[in-house]
């Protein structure tokens, strides 16, 4: 019988896999940032599961991993804000929001082709 904590642990590793997949496969930079946040939230959730397993001394959850996750959430937000500012500046400069090296060097938008 799998308990709730293990269930959340398994869902966190699925979230990590999903986020990693989106980060690699989706070519749109904004969607990559979104997928990266999904991946990060999966890692944080795994911390939460480890904290919950460390319940003891009258506490329902080990406070040390919890504090680390709070720190991590703030840093993840700051990194996301910087990534989005970089992306918007790229769009401002080139008129495109793409990481393709071939298309960003030319001025005209390149129609999406099958690769």
């Amino acid at each position: 019988m799998i308990g709730a904590t293990t269930l959340f642990g398994l869902s966190s590793v699925v979230l990590i896999g999903l986020g990693l997949f989106g980060l690699i496969v989706d070519p749109r930079p904004l969607r990559k940032i979104l997928a990266f946040n999904l991946l990060g939230s999966g890692v944080f959730l795994l911390f939460g599961v480890i904290a919950r397993r460390g319940a003891g001394a009258g506490l329902n959850s080990d406070p040390v991993p919890q504090a680390l996750v709070i720190t991590g959430l703030v840093v993840a937000f700051a990194a996301t804000a910087l990534a989005i500012a970089l992306l918007l500046r790229l769009f401002q400069e080139t008129g495109q929001a793409t990481l393709d090296t071939e298309s960003s060097s030319s001025d005209a938008p390149v129609p999406s082709a099958d690769s």
Binding site: L18, A67, L88
Partner: protein, 310 residues
């Protein structure tokens, strides 16, 4: 199967379904809305994991503020040329790689040591000396204060990075954060919500010593209220060259650092508090930190300067 477990299973399936949806849906706006919903559902899982402090941070920061950033970017990037998606072979390879990563981690999750290692007894043992009732605040501001100090500091280089992306002519000017067409509902919200939001923010900060909450949650709520007022066009973002603004930004880290350094003389180590005076010092740090964090988060959302300096 108990009712609680049924709820947990339902919650897990819902979170995974929303996560999949945010990745596959074509429209980026829809994906961001999905991400906000995902964050709120995830906050419920954090409650189920007996971590209400993290749940508050996830709801305010992971879901709310990050969602706002992504929404703003999605609006500005609308109509941008789309990139070429990778070929089928690469997609399959990525899928296999990600499945392997997940499977490896799942194997670790299923083999976690039992009984689990824990620092909970060590945290509880010295909590009365600090005068705190919330063990997470104890870890954040006493045992691992160095992490929290560096985290407060890291917001500043991130903000400098964002500011430095401004075109030269705008340097020293104000960022523009305003909805293109502020309509009735947004204006009403921006007039009605902030008084309550500010009370909630102060409550979260003040109460963080004994109950779930703290500087980061309170700061995030205050930042959200400020951003709401800016979005509705009821206020203007300040120019980034304003001296008072810069002082406000560094005040939190500076007070933290000064009290930390005073600990070398008054107690016996950097970031140590003198016996019996831990709580007033911690509350002072939290209060100033909340203000600095609120301003820093708000400015991170407002983005680089976009107005000519006056």
């Amino acid at each position: 199967m108990t009712l609680a477990l049924a709820v947990d299973i339902g919650l897990t399936l819902l979170v995974l379904a929303v996560a999949c949806w945010t990745l596959v849906v074509r429209d980026t706006f829809a994906a961001v809305i999905g991400f906000v919903a995902y964050g709120l559902l995830l906050a419920l899982i954090w409650v189920r994991l007996a971590a209400p402090d993290v749940a508050l941070t996830e709801a305010a920061m992971g879901s709310g503020l990050t969602g706002l950033l992504l929404l703003g970017a999605a609006a500005r990037l609308r109509g941008a040329a789309s990139s070429t998606p990778p070929g089928l072979a690469l997609r399959w390879a990525a899928g296999v790689l990600c499945a392997l990563v997940s499977a490896g981690l799942a194997a670790i999750v299923l083999r976690l040591p039992d009984p689990a290692p824990t620092l909970a007894p060590a945290v509880i043992a010295h909590l009365p000396d600090l005068g705190l009732g919330n063990p997470v605040t104890g870890v954040l501001l006493a045992y691992r204060a160095i992490d929290t100090l560096l985290e407060a500091v890291v917001l500043l280089p991130a903000l400098l990075g964002v500011w430095s992306l401004a075109p030269d002519r705008y340097w020293g000017g104000a960022p523009i954060l305003r909805h293109p067409r502020p309509a009735g509902a947004l204006t009403l919200f921006a007039q009605v919500l902030p008084p309550f939001g500010i009370i909630v923010g102060i409550y979260l900060c003040w109460n963080g010593a004994n109950q779930p909450g703290g500087a980061f949650q309170g700061g995030a709520v205050l930042a959200a209220m400020w951003v709401l007022v800016l979005l509705a066009g009821l206020g203007e973002a300040p120019p980034v060259s304003r001296r008072g603004l810069r002082w406000l930004l560094i005040a939190g880290s500076a007070v933290f650092l000064i009290i930390g350094l005073a600990g070398i003389g008054l107690a016996d180590a950097f970031l140590a508090y003198p016996a019996g005076y831990a709580k007033p010092f911690i509350l002072t740090i939290e209060l100033v930190l909340t203000l600095s964090i609120a301003v820093a988060l708000g400015l991170l959302i407002a983005g680089p300067p976009a107005r000519l300096p006056s």
